[in-house]
Symmetry: C2
Subunit: 158 residues, 2 copies
């Protein structure tokens, strides 16, 4: 299930979340949930536009220190409650982006003791892009997002 990782171009992160993977999936794929966890606070998500299918859009707008950041991408693979692959290498309609940054693979599995084994992989075109993502704080950033996601999803649990 875990894809081959290339240490020169990939970053990855695994954590166990104390919420069921159906809920993790719902948080990641429904626009009303995304603003509650998707960027590390105090940054905010100000818009989400999702068409959850292969080739469908995954567009978000962030507010980072007062600046709007427009992120456009598409889903490459969608396996409900198991795997979500998306990238900024395309916008909807398979239009290639001039300078793609990353391709993200999110993997969800049942954890042995309950909850969800949550793995995020970021793949890059070359070692320099990987390095810049690491320097931007990949591990802290995705860690904070996972913590926020877990806290938010716990509040949704019925």
């Amino acid at each position: 299930m875990m894809p081959d990782l290339d240490p020169n171009t990939d970053l990855s992160f695994t954590r166990t979340l104390a919420v069921p993977r159906s809920l993790v999936w719902e948080c990641w794929t429904r626009p009303e949930h995304i603003p509650h966890f998707f960027v590390p606070a105090p940054h905010t998500v100000t818009a989400v536009d999702i068409d959850l299918r292969v080739g469908g859009r995954f567009n978000t707008v962030f507010n980072v220190d007062g600046n709007e950041m427009d992120n456009k991408g598409v889903y490459l693979d969608v396996v409900a409650e198991e795997k979500l692959v998306f990238t900024d290498a395309y916008t909807e309609g398979w239009k290639p982006a001039p300078e793609p940054f990353m391709t993200a693979i999110l993997l969800l599995a049942d954890a042995a003791g309950g909850g969800t084994t949550y793995t995020a992989i970021a793949r890059h075109r070359n070692p320099d892009t990987r390095k810049s993502h690491e320097d931007m704080g990949f591990h802290d950033g995705w860690g904070t997002v996972a913590t926020q996601l877990e806290a938010y999803a716990k509040g949704l649990k019925k």
Copy 2:
């Protein structure tokens, strides 16, 4: 059905082929057929490895003037007998390529007078890449491939 084209980054080509689209689809998606039409003669295809699904490999080796050219890619969208999208921007497993060249969209439709309306679109990351593809002979190349495909497919018709 026809996607928006961007004249700065896209190249496209449409022709009517006198063979049914089921046969055109079969030629494009079964490895035993690819060597019979896929590169302009006298160049040849020496290997084909296909896993026809979203994210699956579409790998070929060409012999061009005695030099082996290794082409690795994946399918991005597969709609039987209608649409095939593939690119060299990834290899199997969603590994981004350092310098992607193009994303190809092949569209098949029933032609009004019979046969197949055959459209090939090549999308590029930037105008320079589009230009180099045009200068390499996109129109002649894809035209020759369409002619070869039609002739080969006619021989397959039952």
